[in-house]
């Protein structure tokens, strides 16, 4: 679980970095592209307007010629794709190859829908005309090309920067990941190396009990309790570390028998604290569960119930068809602390040792099998843990 937790936080920071990095680059690129597009568009239209202006000059020249020669046939100069018309001083239509519905007179050149219009003042007034209006269809092709290029640019740049960002992010996270991995490896190695000495201690205590009538019984019990605690700590650590890739063997487990076994395992601890134990287990209760999961859950519950009990306190273990109840006369948990307590590394009472991973493991097992887990507690009085299935 540690590994996955770290990977999740890694992922989170990677995504955060990517989010900020990408959104800011995208904003920048988008703005730059918009400005570029606007500028280019303006230029294209200006060029077309210039053309229109040149055309107007040409038409004016022809009109002048027409005016001066007084030819019998007045031929108005048509110049496709340009259209033109002449207006008198009062801005009334005289003649032309087109008749625009309305004109904006206070602008020299402007664009109306897809038409470019240019109004050219004439001096002197040829044929009584004082304005020449030239119009042409706006050439959309360069504008469309510009638009396509801009979009393409955004897409390609976006793609490039996303890839770059991803690569950079990975690069930043690499040392973090490496140190995480080496830490995990370290924990793994340590726990593995702990294994053999713990085995040696426990087996030798067992051996001494079996072979000799040892005089230092009390001292032996203390060593036994300490090494059992060490052993459980080891089991819990390995469990958390391996949880995600551990192959469970779900089988029908004799839960009653398992509970008796585990209570037996804790009896030295219970006796050492002079706790009054009351066991009331229904016969032959079975659960479909991985045996190790069941042991870790029960061990942690019992261990907590003993650890957070007072000397000469009570411990009640009750098992029925649908629930396991462990009640102790412990120091109790404050109401506001109950909801925090299930999180790893959080302990109700800081003065006691331990890693506080116990209830987290219980929580994980309970969640995996869809059990229901409740803690009832009265501060300084008692705590009751209830697991229902």
């Amino acid at each position: 679980m540690w590994v996955t937790d770290m990977l999740q936080s890694e992922k989170r920071s990677l995504f955060r970095f990517l989010g900020i990095y990408l959104s800011s680059t995208f904003l920048l690129f988008f703005l730059a592209t918009v400005i570029f597009y606007a500028f280019q568009k303006h230029q294209i239209i200006d060029a077309q307007k210039d053309k229109l202006k040149q055309e107007a000059v040409k038409i004016t020249a022809e009109l002048t010629l027409l005016h001066e020669t007084f030819s019998s046939s007045l031929i108005y100069p048509y110049k496709e794709p340009f259209k033109s018309a002449i207006y008198n001083l009062d801005r009334e239509y005289i003649f032309g190859s087109f008749k625009p519905k309305h004109l904006v007179w206070d602008k020299e050149a402007y664009q109306e829908s897809n038409q470019l219009i240019y109004i050219h003042a004439l001096h002197p007034y040829y044929l009584g005309a004082s304005y020449l209006v030239v119009s042409t269809k706006l050439d959309a092709k360069p504008l469309n090309d510009l638009f396509t290029i801009s979009i393409l640019f955004i897409v390609i740049a976006g793609l490039f920067f996303t890839l770059l960002g991803f690569f950079l992010g990975k690069l930043f996270i690499m040392p973090m990941k490496e140190s995480m991995e080496s830490m995990n490896r370290f924990i793994e190695d340590t726990t593995h190396e702990l294994n053999t000495p713990i085995s040696t201690i426990l087996t030798n205590i067992e051996l001494m009990d079996a072979l000799y009538d040892c005089e230092g019984k009390t001292e032996m019990r203390r060593i036994e309790i300490a090494s059992k605690t060490l052993s459980r700590l080891y089991e819990d650590l390995s469990y958390l570390k391996l949880n995600h890739n551990y192959h469970r063997q779900i089988e029908r487990v004799d839960f009653t028998g398992l509970l008796y076994d585990r209570i037996e395992y804790f009896h030295t601890l219970i006796e050492a604290k002079k706790i009054y134990l009351k066991v009331n287990l229904a016969e032959a209760i079975t659960l479909d569960i991985d045996k190790n999961d069941a042991i870790r859950m029960v061990d942690n519950l019992l261990s907590n119930a003993i650890k957070y009990n007072r000397k000469e306190g009570n411990l009640e273990v009750t098992l029925t068809d649908e629930k396991l109840r462990i009640k102790n006369s412990g120091m109790g948990i404050k109401k506001e602390e109950i909801k925090h307590i299930q999180h790893r590394f959080k302990r109700a009472n800081r003065s006691e040792g331990g890693f506080g991973i116990g209830l987290d493991i219980v929580g994980q097992v309970v969640k995996r099998y869809g059990f229901n887990f409740k803690i009832f507690s009265t501060y300084t009085k008692h705590t009751e843990v209830l697991i229902t299935w």
Partner: protein
């Protein structure tokens, strides 16, 4: 007293000594090996009834060791001693051909229970005593014979031979195989002694139970 032989492969000297002491106390003859090569030597020299194998040992890990042993056709039962870290490998262990596994840290009681269980399987029986008719019972844990609950005095080799017959009921046992099991590698097997042991066993079990296969060996017939 006839004892079953256990090969213990565990590189930690303290733990090896502890387990050896405990199993010896429980009535087994334990041969300790601290690396895979030593284990292989012991397996060649001794007639081993059960292997207890740690996975992380020098030269070759326990899995590879067992795979090599199984490849040579040796079906001596094996129990792996692993840590939880290697639980996933257990499937691998079973594939290779181990009979059981025990997780470190373990209780000696649990180890003993598993050892007894696997050793019992050698005799293809569910109980720890095999009924040999006429009030004779053979105890598979301690390799001794009782007649109407009284222990029958047997020579060590006679008890071993009987155990060998019971394990290989209805199968032909060649002289070679019997010599391998009954005589240690530094002893010289003797055909004459073997005949004497066979006679003793025939006297106890009834003549027809042990068939002679001329020039080859013997066969134990249950009925």
């Amino acid at each position: 007293m006839a004892q079953q032989n256990i090969l213990l492969l565990e590189d930690d000297i303290q733990l090896n000594d502890t387990v050896k002491q405990f199993l010896s106390y429980s009535g087994y003859k334990v041969y300790s090996a601290y690396d895979a090569f030593q284990a292989k030597d012991i397996l060649y020299e001794r007639s081993i009834d059960l292997m207890l194998l740690d996975v992380k040992v020098p030269h070759q890990n326990g899995f590879d060791f067992l795979a090599g042993v199984r490849n040579e056709g040796d079906i001596t039962p094996a129990i792996f001693i692993t840590s939880l870290n290697a639980v996933d490998d257990v499937t691998k262990g079973f594939d290779i051909g181990c009979d059981d596994y025990i997780r470190k840290p373990f209780a000696l009681k649990e180890l003993l229970a598993r050892v007894e269980l696997v050793l019992k399987r050698n005799f293809k029986t569910h109980s720890y005593q095999i009924d040999l008719d006429n009030g004779y019972l053979f105890d598979v844990k301690g390799l001794f014979l009782t007649h109407n609950k009284l222990k029958v005095s047997l020579k060590t080799k006679e008890a071993k031979l009987l155990a060998l017959f019971l394990k290989n009921s209805r199968e032909l046992l060649t002289y070679e195989k019997i010599f391998d099991v009954l005589w240690e590698y530094d002893e010289t097997p003797s055909q004459g002694s073997l005949r004497a042991y066979i006679n003793t066993l025939r006297h106890i079990l009834g003549k027809n139970k042990i068939e002679t296969v001329k020039y080859v060996g013997y066969r134990y017939v249950a009925e």
